[in-house]
Every structure is written in C-alpha cells, then in structure tokens.
Symmetry: D2
Subunit: 336 residues, 4 copies
C-alpha cells in the first residue's frame, strides 16, 4: 500500500482526488492537511465523503506529513505550495504539485505572471511536467511532478500533434476556452456567487490569464516550436468541464480525416485520448479522465475542438495518472 | 415627481427596485446609499444599469437622505434598517422597509427569532404590513410600511382566502417552500457559491426560518385565525422564484372548482393575483409582479400551490405597489 | 464472467447501468437492444461510451437475447417490458426489470394507475421487490426482480424504520418530493425542453403520480402498516437527484437523536444508507449509490429528509446491487 | 392605435414580442396565428400571458390577417414566412419578418445555405435590413423589413465601426459565438432536451451555420468591405444571451481607449448600444434591448467582445425598434 497525503484538502480538486484514490486498490490515505480551525472531520468539509473516509484535517508541518506518507499531493495555492514542498523534498517522499509553482521553466516568467518571487527558483526547468501523453517516459523516475493546469493541458494536447507534425503555423494560434465554475475554486467570492454567474457567460482575464505562458512553454518543450498563443477564457454556467475551440492556420492542404488520423497516430499509446469524428461536448467527458478532440476545416482555418473535465483530466485524474506511472501501476488504475 | 432614495443599494432587491422605478413616470431617484468604500458609481456595482442611471452610492446620514427624498426604500439588513428609519421618521419622509424590522407585531417574538433587541420596539404592532391584497386600505395613509418577506407573502396570499372562509383546519398547515438562490442575498458565502448549490436541492433552516412567525402573525391579522404553520424552505438551483406547496386539511367537502372560485372572489380587486387551473411554475411569474395559485384535492387534503418571483412580488415589485398606493398612483404603475 | 444483456439501451438509466457494469470485474456485456433503426453503435447513441464499449444496438427477439445472456436488465417502458420478460423467463435467464410492471402486487391496481391490462397478471404478488435494504434475503434466489421506482425507494427507505417501530401515525404521511429532469426520460418533449424547465420549479402529476400506489403497497409489505401517503412530485432544474421532504405525525415524544438512532439501528447492515445529522443535499449523493437521510422535529411533526441519485440508487445502482446479491458477489461491487 | 398581428405565435420570440407590445402605448394586438389544432387561447400556449392578453390563436389566411392589421410580425420559419408575406404585401399592410427569408441579398446564396428555392426571389436585394444602428434612415419608409438574425446582429454591430474606419484586416476575422438554448427554438428535440445540454458546452454547425453568409453580406452593405468571417457558434447551458468573442487583426497601432472611442463615436446616435470598459456578460443585457461591447488588445490582435439578449435585441426587441421607426414613434418606446 502506498501511503498518501493531501495538502490543502478542503477544495474541489482535493475532493475529486480523494474519491478517485478511494477506488485505488493500492492506496491508503493517511493524512489530510488544512488551515481550517479545529481539525474538522473530512466529512464535515466534504459531506460526500460521509462514511467513506474517516480522517480529520490537521495543520501539520511538512516534516510530519513527509514522515507519514510515501507520496504527497499538494492542492495548495501557488507560492504556498512550493514553500512546503521544498522542505518535504529533503526526505524521500514523492510529490505531485497541483499548483503552478513548478510548471514554468524560469523564475522571471513566474514573477512576471504571478507577481511574486518564486520560493524555490533553482528547481525551475528541471521538474517533470506531468502530462503523461507528452512526457510519459520522464514520470516514473521523478520525485516531483508538476501537475498541469486545466486549460493548459486541454490546449496543449489539442495542439501538440499538429505542431509536432509541422502542419500549422506557429505564429497564428487562438485558443478560445470555455470553463465551468469549479475551476475558480471553492473560496466564496462575488464573481462565482450563484446568482452572479448563473444564466450568464463572460470572458475573463483577457490577455492576462496565467495559463498563457504555461501553454507557450510546454508546447515549446513538447514540440520544439516557438508559439505565442492568444488565450481567452470564458466562465460558463456549469459545474465542470472545459471546451477549447482552437483556431490555427494550416500549412498545406488536407481533409478532416487526415487531421484526425494524425492525431490518432500521435496518441496511439494514450488510453485517455479519444480522437472523435463528432463535435465534443463537455458532458461526454464529465466525471471521467478522457480528453476528447476533433478537427474541422473551414475558410482556410483548422478548427480544433477539445474538451476535458477540469477537475479530473484537468487536475485530479491526471494526478493519479502520474501517481500510477511513478509507482509502476497501470496508467489507468482507478481511472476507468 | 416623487423624489426617491434607496438605502443599501448594492443588493439584488435594490437592483430590481431601481429597474422598476426607472419605468415609473412619476419617480426621480435622487439618492443611493451604501457603506461601500469610495462612493462608486451605481453602474460599477450593477453593470446592468450602465447608461440608465447616473448616480454614485454614498454613505450619507439619515437626515441628509430624508432631506433629499419624499420616499425612502430601505434595503438594509434587519436591525440596521430600523436604527436608521427611526431617525428619518422624525421628518415627513415616507419609508418602505424591506427588512423584517417592522413586520412582527411585538418585540419579544422579534428578539426570540432574530436574536437581538429591537431598536424601535414601540412602533411594533402599529406599522402597516405592506401586502396590498390584504391591507390595501391601510397603505395610502401610512408614513411607514413594512414590506413583506418573500416566502411570507407567497404563503399568506395562498392561505388567506381559505382561512377567512373557514374551510381549512387552522392547526394542520404545512408549507413546503422552494426558493431560488437570489433569496439568500448578494454577500459571498460558501452555501450559495455556484458549484455548491448548482445541480442540488436541499432544505435549510428547518423549523427555524424567520418567516415562520411572520406567517403566523400576519395570517392572524388578516383572517383572525390562530395558526402555527410548519414552514420548510428549500434552496433550488435557479436565480429567482418561489413555489409554495401547502398542505391543508379541508373542512367540509368541495371540488377543486369551488376552491378556485373562493380564491377568485377573495382576490377580485387584486390585479396581480391570478387564480389558475393549471399547475403554477415559477417561470411563468419570473420578472413579473404576479402571484399565481391553484388548488388540488387529494386523499383528504387540499394542496394549495402558489408562486411568485421572490425579487419582484416578493420584494421590489410589491414595494412599488405599496409606493403607488401611498402616493395615489394606479396600483399597477410601472409593474405591468 | 456473467454475460449481461440490456433491453432498451438508449435511455439514461441504461447509460448509467453500462458505466457501472464496465467497472464490474465479473461482468461481460454481450447484448444491447433497441428499436432504433440501423443497428447504431452504442457510442453513436451515448457518446460518453466512445472507446469504452464496442457493441451495436440490435433489435433481437427475447429468445435470442436469453440465449446470449445469464442476466438481462430491462430498461423498457411498462407493458412493453413485461411482454418480453414473460418470454425470457421460460429459459433460465435471470431478469432485473426497471419498469413498473412487476412492482405492484395486483393487476387491478396496475390497470387503475397504468391504464392498461397487465400482460402477465399471474406473476403479480410473487415477484421480489428489489430493494435490498428491506428485502435482502429474498433477492439471491430470485429469477426475476422488480427494480424499484426512484421516488418510491427514496420514500420507502425514509419511512420504513419509523413505521416498523410504530412511532409515526400511519394515516397522516405527506411526501413532498423534488426530482431532477433526467427522471422524465430521454424522449424529447416540451415539458423537459431546456428553456421550459430551466430556471423554474413546478409540481406535476399532483395526486396522480404512479409511484403513489407503489409506495403504499411496498410499505405494507415491508412494515405491515396500512398507509396511504399523499405524494407530490416537483420538477427541479438539475440533471439528477431526488429529495423527499416527508411530514409525519410522531407517536410519543422523542428527540432528534432518538430518531436517528432508530434509523441507524434499522439500517445497520446496509452499506449504502447514511443516517446523517446535517441536512441532506442531492449533490452529496449525485453519481453515487448512497441514500442519505436525517430527521428534524418541529411543531408536532417529524420531518424526514432523504435523498438519492435517481439514476443510481434510484435505478441503475440498486439494479447492480440486486445483481450482486443474485449472483453471490459482494453487495457493493462496482458501486463504491 | 396601430393594429398588430403576429404570425406563428407559439414560439419564444413571439412570447417576448407580445410582452413588449403589451407595454407599448400605441399598439393593439388583434391577431395571433398558428397551425396548432383547436384554436387554443394564447395563455394555454404561453401561461405567462394569463390575464394579460385575451386572444385565441387561429389559422387564418394572409388576406384575413392583412385586413385586420396595420403591421404584421412574422415569426414563421424560413420559406413558410416568405410564402405568406408575398401575399400580404399586395395590400398596404407593413411587415416585419423574423425569418431569414429577406435577409440575404440574392437567391443563389439563399438556396445554397437554406437548401431550397426562394419563394419570392425578385424582392431579394431590395428589402431593408432591420438593424437600426446601421440602416436607420431606410426603415421609416419601408413596407417590409427583414429582422436580423441574433448571432448576425451581435457580430455585425461589433465589427462595423472598425471595418468602416478601416482599422482591421478584412480577411482575418474570427467570430467565436456562444448562445443560450432558447436560440434553438421551442420544438422539442434531443439536442435541447434539458439533461442533454444542461451542464455541457459544445460547438455546433461548425463551418455551416446559416448566419455566416448573412454576416458577410450585411457587413459588405454597411461598410463596403468584402469579408468572409469564420463563424463558430456554441450552445451554452442558459436560457438566453449571446456573447461574441471576435478576433481581428488591427491595422496600425492604437490603445484600447482609442478602440472604444471609435465605437462610441460610431454609435453616438444609438440609444441601445453601450460601449463599456469592463468585460460584457450576457446577464447584464438579459431581458433588455441593449447591446454591450468592449475591446481588448493582446498579442497583436484586437479582441472585440459583445453581447445581447438573443430574444430581445437579437429578435423581438429590435423588431419593436424597427416598428417604432416605421411608425414614427420614439425608437425606445416600450423598450426601456
């Protein structure tokens, strides 16, 4: 049994992670941390877990957590996450970080987009990016894995086959992304209050969303192409799901079937990628670890449509995929 | 032109009130108050009002507001509301209070249900309850009107015809109420965060909801019946709307048409009451000042079904109805 | 491996059933039937299943299905279901029927509520009612199991402990039920078109819902009490979930903890029943096979609040629970 | 009083139209048509209208309707609409057509996109396009006005100021549109069944949506620019609202304020256009006739964001705007 801890266990990604791990035959959850006062029982925070997990949230120092766990998932916010992870990495514990702290390759970009100095700059550029479909070989040996952002992984998986193949222009990529409200987290704020965002759609963080540099850098890493995507996210009145509608300029002439074949070839070894002929809907991947994509060609553009569940394939599902690879389990364990 | 002020103008009821008043031919909105820092423009708080109302929110003392207005609507929370209204009533200004402060008839019940001493106990029992369908004659001369609670008015209007007629038992009334999320207000909190209440229904405040004593007392006032309703509200994943499903024990035998006729007779003079044959849906009253009701008889019970828009007939619409009556306008002005 | 067939595989319960069975280690789905033209692939009907199940829907006679399966789940509409099941029962195949056909105990009540003659009246009264929490012992040996209705099972499970214990009046029970739209099935109709039922709540089938006699009869069977519940369902703008708010008249005085203890004792052996202290929300059981319940006492009434996922515990989950018991698997297999 | 008729009065646009016209001081609705059997009362089809309009739907020939009306709004589907309108135009009656029949400028394009011969090809190219912000001068004298499509008008209004000014490239325009479900009409179909489209977002008609040629042709008419927009609509789980996120390539350097100033100048005379600094949300225009837009500049692109209520500014509101201009009323009558 792998003993597992979760840092910052009060949010939505932690809840989904726990539910997946409860189905994992080789996992024992030993530790949940939170700064919530009074060490509440996990079921008081997540009523869904009533009768399923008998643990209290605790505020324990990283050393204590590391001593009790073989693998730790950090669901802490950026900056806070790296500060604790740095300390835990001095032991043998393995870490999967949901925050953005170890995703970017350099400290300057981090500071520019996140507005603060990186707590652990020397590790940047050396941490494995936990998108198994693109970096599967690097994951098994890693002590630390940077779990991808939800918009990021959906965008990258949609673009990688065609950038790698050299059949789209690198300097003319638009990602129009639509995401459910759970992506904004579980802290009460006006913008995600029910009567504010229900029955409404709006763009947000136009030109300023922090997944922008992550998409650029990881696409460079995966395909060796220099890209600067224009990324525009929208808040959609639904709990979960991401749809990316991506506009790219094709190089050369090919029909839609050719595009699909190229994607299918590229993802031949990837059990959670489904290259489909019909238009993807977020409902068809909700609650699952699947990534669905298709391509249409119209008026001189390739339109790549891709979707995931932001909490599963975009966060907790891919984290368990990484966990499985790190520990030698079948990649799909607990995820089908 | 009647000069109007609104206290506590940042919430949902204030927004709906402003939108109705902008359609009123004899109203000029002169003052909006709020404790928001920096005196923001009303359109910065309510983007819907962009280009429609050019006022800043201000934190002005009650005397200043009173001096600038002929009529003030208070959308402040309970206790805070009465504290300011007391002072304004020393001038000639007329006041319509959305809070619960002047709805109950005695200070003890107030203290018991609201958990604090009433700021202005001597007025209790003398303030007009602003439900025109039941107290129309008292409203024109009133300086202060207590605007009804949303669940309260829906429940009371549904029950009054039958209690008055003496055809239901007074000691066996169950009100199972369902309400949209806007009823919980615009302050961010976990329970009304989108991913918490979307795709879910739950009861809340079972046996403890503060509209309970208000229903009892106002039904007594309107029908002279001593009732103790069992009131259970539920939170429904929709912006607005209230449906009350009321279970009562009939006295005597009568068919559904008789029930409907009794209600129609009772509300003959009430332009916003629609006694219907089909089952009411909140969508059919959304955005309107209508109250829809019907009756079914089954297995020895009368089932009274009634609905309103909690922000309109349950708050801002009925407030303007009261305003119209107070100022001698047609009751329906700006409300059709 | 148990070879499984599903009749009427195009609807929501069939989809959920397939997803659960795909997680079952001892099941092989061999046959899916439908009257859809052209034998479409199951993924063309249920895109969620793309890459997960490679079967075509077919219109096969019952004999053929029976020959290819050890156990058949029928998701057909009432009347159609019994007509085919009758024929299959001549072989050794075991059947779990989702329709209402074998739930009622007599043909007259069936004809009265369903408006047509029962196709197989002689079996009525002898078929096991598949609610394991109440009839667990009868299920293992059954060839045919009548899978319960969704409102029915939620209502019955909430009431059974207290009727059995004799602590509520049998002649004064009101079930105010709220259900998500998936309960209305997958056939397009105006009432469940998105813009009709979104942002709205309404009661329907007041006094006429077909789950009424089922609740009465099965409660009689389980508790030996003669009851005639007043059952009122409401359509709630959400995909799935049922909340029953039940009003009962207590016999004797007891506190809320006593009520909870009685329920806990009653369901001690039932892994999917959670007797909780907080108020249940449908979101906390969505996607799971759990049944959550609590009790409040107020103004002389016991208010029992209970919820389930109508597609899982209310249909496909309990069906697999029955399947597990019939075939000697652990009751929770594929359901946690 | 202008006597008004509505053809095809059972859908959502007709309902909104009736509600607006009931507020119009100079309108009397005299005729509602439908092919519904049995001449139902309008309130049986639209329960919202109970007690507000006492008319029955009837299936009357165009001559009868024309004789009873000064102005007819046709909410019929394409092809059916022109067939009746042709006949009515022989009288003096004025017509506002909600269908696509008279929007395109030539019969070939119509046939190509709508798949059938145009019933009245000779009128094409001569009919006024009813977008007052662009063609205000042509509307007063028109006997027939082609009411714009909802996606079309939102897209055109967002682009026109910048095309006219020559500051965006004409051959590189992408419109990523998001619309609520009411846009798909009131006929029950699987794709707009609640449990299908709730909690999901998907693109549809990619490269094939019929508003594409309309956007191209009307932009040509309004700005004299040859454009071929890439238009991609998405279905959003909400009742109403359209958001267009438009990606254009700027000519020359200018800051965001310059873009906004250009739009404000362009729409100086247009009371329903609001050029705003913040990001538009469909909720802020829901139920209103406003069109909200802003511009962001990022990574070499202008991102124009615009929204409307598809049933009001996108259909029934703009129709009444046209009606007002045609009959010499203030453009905003009944619309504020």
């Amino acid at each position: 049994m792998i003993r597992v801890g979760i840092l910052g266990a009060t949010g939505y990604t932690a809840l989904e992670l726990i539910k997946i791990l409860l189905r994992h035959p080789d996992v024992e959850i030993t530790t949940l941390t939170s700064r919530q006062e009074g060490n509440p029982h996990v079921a008081a925070i997540h009523p869904q877990l009533t009768g399923r997990l008998d643990l209290h949230l605790e505020e324990s120092p990283p050393e204590t957590v590391a001593a009790r766990c073989d693998c730790v998932f950090s669901c802490l916010p950026h900056a806070a996450s790296a500060s604790l992870i740095m300390k835990m990495l001095e032991s043998d514990v393995r870490v999967i970080d949901f925050s953005a702290d170890y995703r970017l390759r350099d400290a300057e970009t981090y500071e520019q987009w996140y507005g603060s100095k990186h707590p652990d700059p020397n590790r940047l550029g050396k941490v494995v990016y936990g998108l198994p479909e693109l970096f599967r070989d690097q994951i098994p040996g890693a002590q630390l894995v940077a779990n991808p952002g939800c918009y990021t992984s959906t965008s990258i998986l949609a673009l990688a086959p065609f950038l790698k193949k050299g059949i789209i222009e690198t300097d003319d990529i638009i990602v129009d992304a639509k995401g459910g409200v759970s992506g904004a987290g579980r802290s009460p704020k006006l913008t995600t209050l029910y009567p504010e965002c229900n029955e409404s759609i709006t763009a947000y963080s136009v030109g300023r969303h922090r997944h922008t540099p992550e998409i650029d850098q990881i696409l460079k890493l995966a395909t060796d192409c220099d890209v600067q995507v224009l990324f525009t996210p929208h808040l959609v009145p639904m709990d979960r799901g991401i749809l990316c509608t991506i506009y790219a300029r094709p190089i050369g002439q090919r029909g839609e079937d050719d595009w699909l074949d190229i994607a299918r070839d590229f993802y031949e070894q990837s059990p959670f990628v489904r290259v489909i002929g019909h238009l993807p809907a977020t409902k068809d991947v909700a609650g699952s670890n699947y990534f669905d994509m298709t391509v249409r060609v119209s008026r001189g553009r390739a339109i790549i449509l891709a979707c995931t569940d932001n909490l599963i394939k975009g966060a907790s599902g891919v984290a368990v995929q990484n966990f499985n690879l790190m520990h030698g389990f079948d990649e799909t364990t607990a995820l089908l």
